[in-house]
Structures are given as structure tokens and as C-alpha cells.
């Protein structure tokens, strides 16, 4: 990868310091609300709204699932995000593979079609889906789990294909031919050549879909029914109207901790595997 020559670093110390301070400043800005969220998970609010600092307590952490519906909403969101990311990654991944692997008529059209949902504001996407489900008026498309899932898959598919496409761009697909010429059976070629190549892109796309799905509010609020199970964002929006409990902050902090742990685990696993990889070439 890119190598930063020592000279560049040493020659402009003031510029570097200014840049570093600025970068740290931006990171602090990014973390302001996060610090607030974590801090307020230890708040002891006197009213139903956990918006003002009243005092320190560990009670919220002792009883993180006191609000049963909050946990249900979280699990529901996880469930939807799991399905949405799996389906979107499969069908979006195939679109990306087809686009980067083959030359065929209509490729440009497919590319344009993929970009359109990305350039459509969420409120318009939600509106069109709502109208569609209302217009279709069939029991299968009655607003609920299925309509939420369909919508989430829709806005994830384009993201998936774009991400995977970007990752495999420039890959020499004739390598597969070479492998086959050397007598490898197609399945083995896929497993040994194609799969390792696309897997980082696939994983990145799946993670992105998961994140987009679990956090979506605008589209979900439009395609979900009255009296239905709320997703986590819908629950939060509703809670804003009646009661912002510190348990929301506790759960948000937990999610944060799990994500950070997973992220930290990535490099650690990488480190563990490195010696093996080094022997490969």
C-alpha cells in the first residue's frame, strides 16, 4: 500500500500538528452525542424523560430490560436486519458479479437502474412503497413484517451491488479460466479462486445492509401498520412522545460495546492468522 516517506512527516511539523488537532476535534464532535448517551445511561431522572442530568445511579444497568417492549423492539429489529441483509447480499451480490464478470447487452441500463434507488430520497421511496402496498391491497402485502422486510431489502440491494462491484473492480476473471485449464473442476474454481476474491466485498456489503436496515426509520414508519410490533427506531420515536427511559441509553450503550468488541476482534483475529498467511506464498 501507500508508503509515507519519512521526509514528508518530518518536514512539516506545524502543519502536521494543526492537522492532527483538527482531526481530533472532528472526532470529539463525532463522539459528543455518544458520550451523552453513555453518560445518561447512568442518570437517575426524576421525571419520565431522561433528558436532564439529575444524579448518578447504577440501577438502570442493574435492570437493563425493565422495559420489556424495548427489548422486544430490539430483537424484532435484529431479526428484520438479519433477513434483509442475507437476502439483499445474495441477490445484490449476484448482480454485482454479473456486472463485473460479464460483457452483455444492457449492462449500462442495469447500472443506471441500480443507482436510481440510491438517488431517491428515503421519504419518496417510503411514499412509493406505501402507495404500492395500499394499491396492491392483497393480504400478502398487508403492512407488517413482510412489507418492512421487502422495503429494507430494496434499499439494501443497490448498496450491496455497488459495494461488491467496487471491491471486485479490476479483477482478472480469466484467472478462473486459467484454473479450469489446469484441470480444476468448476466448484473447486469457485471455492478456491472466486470466493476468496469476493468474500471481503460480500462481508462489507452484508454489514452495511445490516446497519442500514437496523437503523432505518423514515421508510419503516411509512410501511408499518398501526398496532403492529414496533422496530427499535419506531419504538424510540414513540417513546419520545411518552417516556424516554434510561434503559434506552443502556441498550444503546450495549449495542455500542458489542460493535466495538466485534471491531476490535477483527484485527486480533487478523493477527492470529497472519503467521499462517505468511507461509502461504
Amino acid at each position: 500500500m501507500s508508503v509515507v516517506p519519512a521526509r514528508v512527516r518530518t518536514r512539516r511539523p506545524t502543519g502536521s500538528i494543526v492537522l492532527a488537532v483538527y482531526a481530533v476535534g472532528v472526532l470529539v464532535y463525532l463522539f459528543l452525542p455518544i458520550i451523552t448517551i453513555v453518560a445518561f445511561s447512568f442518570n437517575d431522572p426524576t421525571s419520565k424523560f431522561n433528558l436532564e442530568w439529575k444524579g448518578f445511579t447504577l440501577d438502570n444497568w442493574a435492570d437493563p430490560f425493565a422495559k420489556g417492549q424495548l427489548l422486544d423492539a430490539m430483537l424484532y429489529s435484529l431479526w428484520i436486519a438479519l433477513w434483509a441483509s442475507v437476502v439483499a447480499t445474495i441477490i445484490g451480490g449476484f448482480v454485482a458479479l454479473a456486472l463485473s464478470r460479464y460483457r452483455f447487452r444492457g449492462g449500462a441500463f442495469v447500472n443506471l437502474f441500480l443507482v436510481l434507488p440510491l438517488t431517491t430520497p428515503e421519504v419518496v421511496l417510503g411514499a412509493s412503497l406505501l402507495n404500492f402496498f395500499v394499491f396492491a391491497d392483497t393480504p400478502f402485502l398487508e403492512r407488517g413484517f413482510r412489507t418492512i422486510l421487502i422495503s429494507h431489502i430494496l434499499f439494501c440491494v443497490s448498496f450491496v451491488s455497488m459495494t461488491v462491484k467496487a471491491r471486485v473492480r479490476g479483477f482478472d476473471w480469466t484467472l478462473e479460466d486459467a484454473a479450469m485449464d489446469l484441470g480444476a473442476p468448476p466448484l473447486r474454481v469457485f471455492y478456491k479462486v472466486t470466493f476468496p476474491l469476493i468474500i471481503p466485498g460480500i462481508l462489507a456489503a452484508a454489514l452495511l445492509s445490516f446497519a442500514l436496515s437496523i437503523d432505518d426509520y423514515i421508510i419503516t414508519t411509512m410501511v408499518s401498520p398501526v398496532g403492529g410490533e414496533p422496530t427499535f427506531p419506531l419504538y424510540i420515536a414513540g417513546a419520545f412522545q411518552r417516556e424516554i427511559s434510561p434503559q434506552i441509553n443502556v441498550l444503546a450503550t450495549m449495542v455500542l460495546l458489542v460493535s466495538v468488541t466485534l471491531m476490535a476482534a477483527g484485527p486480533v483475529i487478523g493477527l492470529l492468522r497472519r503467521p499462517k498467511a505468511a507461509t502461504a506464498p
Binding site: 426524576t46 421525571s47 419520565k48 424523560f49 433528558l51 436532564e52 395500499v134 391491497d137 398487508e142 403492512r143 401498520p225 398501526v226 398496532g227 403492529g228 414496533p230 414513540g238 419520545f240 412522545q241 411518552r242 417516556e243 424516554i244
Partner: protein, 400 residues
């Protein structure tokens, strides 16, 4: 005394002690003959069957969509009304507090009801004017009043009301008053007029409700118009007044129930508010006050109705019957602080041998005297065309 202010601290003590006695009330409920009968008949219904009296549908469970903070919850070791009802009836109730805004709720249920499909909830609680619209659209089922003997406890002033002239479609859940809430720590003075909301001293610290009939209603009163007989042309002054306040930055936000956050956080010095909410909030934030302004206030009712095609009619009836029992109604009223539509609630409270509970019977907020009632107005029932004009003008102000 003409103006009712919440005597907060005292009421705080009252409510807490009252809630502490919830268990005793619950015990009393279990023994009430009407309910024993109800339980008895319940044993005959197998869950999932769709039978019973007069062939009405029944599923064994019940879904209620109501406004937030509108019933006593189970907390601090005290069992709330929903759990008490579950225990008493064996019906699996899901009680959602997802009714935040009349127009929004209507927009969400409209596609299904227009297409002739049932919606999930078996009971919803629209405000009176929306009840009238739902009746005229034919989107409500008649209440099985023969299964709700306690419906006879409905106070006489709300029987066969203007929005439901035959009284067959709706039973009021709670009635309430719209007035002004303020945080004395922020205002630094008592308020008593709608025009206080337009006082430049509170610029950017004023909240108004997205419910047009509340916000516009008070503004109409402040310009000397009667909301009960208003026409669109006559309302121009009030709309202009609101629009000017919006443009000047006088109004900080138009909100739904979430005005409560801003009031507590001190972002609002004063706002248009509902009587019971403030009573509840003042328990924890004693600097909050509620007043019916000198110009008058608005009066309204949120009503239980059964949307067309609901599949748990029998369970819905049992729930309505339960909350119309004065003992249960008293428990709910004491928590929510609104005006209970059930006759006998005041006596039920007064009869309590706990003086703190008995004192609630004299709460001017829960049982307004005739002088106060005389100053309250009900917003006119608008025709569809009028409604369109009013809504459009109002929303051009709220989403300027």
C-alpha cells in the same frame, strides 16, 4: 376562586398514596358480582373460538391502541389496571400507547378501512371530532352495549353527544380541558391569559400543539371568537395571529405529546397543554402549573370505539365494561388526572377511608366546578370542506 392551578405537591402525595392502595382496589374488583359473572361466562369461551352471545366474534385476546400515559401502569410494586383486568378476565390484552396524533392515526388506518380490511386494534381512542368522521365514513362497528352493562354509568352530560347522536358507537375514555401549562421557574410569573403565549418576553420559548382544535381554539378565544360557531372566514384573525407568531419566532415548536419533554427540560416557558398531563408531570416537576386562561379553555373527549371488522368484539366489550366500573374508573382517573366520564368516580374517591385519596374528590382539575365548565368551549363540528380549509391553513403554519 376562578382559576384552577394545580396544587402540585399535595396532589403528588395524594396520588402516590392512592396508588399504594391499588392492591386493595384490585381485591375489591375481584369480588364485584358483575365481574364474577363475566369470569364465569369467560370459562365457556375457548380461546380461538369465534362464538358467544349474539354470535359476536371473539378470539380470546384483545388489542387496544390508546394515547400515551392514559392508564395506571404496573410499577413500583403496584399492579396497574391492565394487569388487573388480565387477571380478572383471563383475556390476553395487548395495550399499545401508539396513538400520538389524530390525523396521523387516521392516515395510517385509512388505507385499510377504505379498502374494507380490518385493522389490528380492537379498540382505538380517537378524539370526539374524529369519532364523528369515522361514523360518517361507516368505518366503526356499533358497540355491543348489551354486553356492557356498566355503560349505564356514563355521566348524563356525555350521553348521546353531538359527535355520536345515537350513542351507539362510542364511549368516552376520558374528557379533558385544554389550557396553558407553564414552568414558573422559567416564566417568573403566573400566567392567566392566552395572550401570555404571545408575550414577546417568552419569544422562542412557547410551545403549541399540532392538534388544530386545541391550538386554534385557544387563539380564537383570545381574539374574541367562539370556537363553537366559527366559520373559516371568521377564523382569519386567529390564523393570522398564529402565523405572525410563528414567523416572529415566538412559537418554538408545534408538538404532539412530546411537549412534555420540552416543558420539563425548560425549553418551553409555556405551552398549550392538556389538563391531565400537567397534573402527572407536576408530580415530579413541582414548578409546573396549569391554568384555564381568562378567555376560556377548550373541552374535549377521547372515546373508545371499535373499528369495523375487529375480531374481538366480546373481549372489547368486557374491557369497556371493566373500565366503566366506578371502582376501576376511579383508579384510572386518579392516575391520569383527567375528567372521568364515569358517574360515581367522585363518590368512590371521597368514600375512601384514606384522607389523601378522598381529597382527590375535591380536585378542581378532575372535577371542575360549574363556573369553570361554563368557560370551556367545544370546537365546532366541521364539514369536510371546512375541515379541508382549516387543515390546510393550519398546516401551512405548522410546516411553514
Amino acid at each position: 376562586m376562578n382559576r384552577q392551578r394545580v396544587r402540585t405537591v399535595q396532589q403528588a402525595i395524594n396520588r402516590r398514596q392512592f396508588l399504594g392502595r391499588g392492591a386493595m382496589f384490585g381485591g375489591a374488583v375481584m369480588l364485584s358480582p358483575a365481574l364474577l359473572a363475566a369470569c364465569g361466562s369467560d370459562d365457556d369461551d375457548k380461546p380461538g373460538s369465534s362464538s358467544t352471545s349474539a354470535g359476536r366474534s371473539s378470539t380470546g385476546d384483545l388489542l387496544v391502541s390508546n394515547w400515551p400515559l392514559y392508564i395506571d401502569p404496573t410499577e413500583d410494586g403496584v399492579t396497574g389496571s391492565i394487569d388487573l383486568f388480565k387477571e380478572a378476565s383471563g383475556i390476553d390484552v395487548t395495550y399499545n400507547e401508539d396513538y400520538n396524533d389524530n390525523n396521523e392515526f387516521f392516515a395510517k388506518i385509512q388505507p385499510d378501512l377504505a379498502a374494507g380490511n380490518a385493522i389490528e386494534p380492537d379498540i382505538i381512542a380517537p378524539t370526539f371530532w374524529l369519532v364523528a368522521r369515522l361514523i360518517s365514513l361507516g368505518w366503526l362497528d356499533k358497540l355491543p352495549l348489551d354486553l356492557i352493562p356498566n355503560a349505564a354509568n356514563l355521566v348524563s352530560s356525555l350521553q348521546k353527544p353531538s359527535w355520536d347522536p345515537t350513542g351507539e358507537y362510542s364511549l368516552p375514555w376520558q374528557s379533558g380541558m385544554t389550557g396553558i401549562a407553564y414552568n414558573i421557574d422559567v416564566t417568573g410569573r403566573e400566567l392567566d391569559s392566552v395572550d401570555d403565549l404571545f408575550d414577546p418576553a417568552f419569544k422562542g420559548k412557547i410551545g403549541m400543539l399540532t392538534e388544530m382544535r386545541d391550538t386554534l381554539g385557544l387563539t380564537l378565544l383570545s381574539v374574541g371568537k367562539d370556537p363553537n360557531t366559527i366559520t373559516f372566514d371568521d377564523a382569519a384573525d386567529a390564523f393570522d395571529k398564529l402565523e405572525k407568531a410563528k414567523n416572529d419566532g415566538q412559537i418554538r415548536q408545534f408538538t404532539g405529546n412530546d411537549y412534555q419533554d420540552d416543558l420539563i427540560a425548560g425549553n418551553f416557558a409555556a405551552c398549550v397543554a392538556w389538563s391531565g398531563d400537567v397534573a402527572q408531570l407536576a408530580l415530579d416537576t413541582p414548578s409546573l402549573r396549569f391554568v384555564i386562561p381568562d378567555e376560556g379553555g377548550m373541552q374535549w373527549s377521547d372515546c373508545m370505539v371499535i373499528p369495523k371488522g375487529a375480531d374481538s368484539i366480546v373481549e372489547a366489550a368486557k374491557f369497556m365494561d371493566y373500565v366503566y366500573d366506578p371502582v376501576n374508573a376511579a383508579r384510572i382517573a386518579a392516575y391520569v388526572g383527567y375528567n372521568s366520564p364515569v358517574a360515581g368516580v367522585q363518590d368512590e374517591l371521597r368514600a375512601s377511608d384514606d384522607p389523601a385519596v378522598a381529597a382527590l374528590a375535591d380536585s378542581a382539575l378532575m372535577f371542575p366546578d360549574d363556573a369553570t365548565l361554563g368557560r370551556l368551549k367545544v370546537f365546532k363540528s366541521l364539514s369536510d370542506d371546512e375541515e379541508a380549509q382549516f387543515d390546510e391553513r393550519f398546516s401551512s403554519i405548522t410546516t411553514g
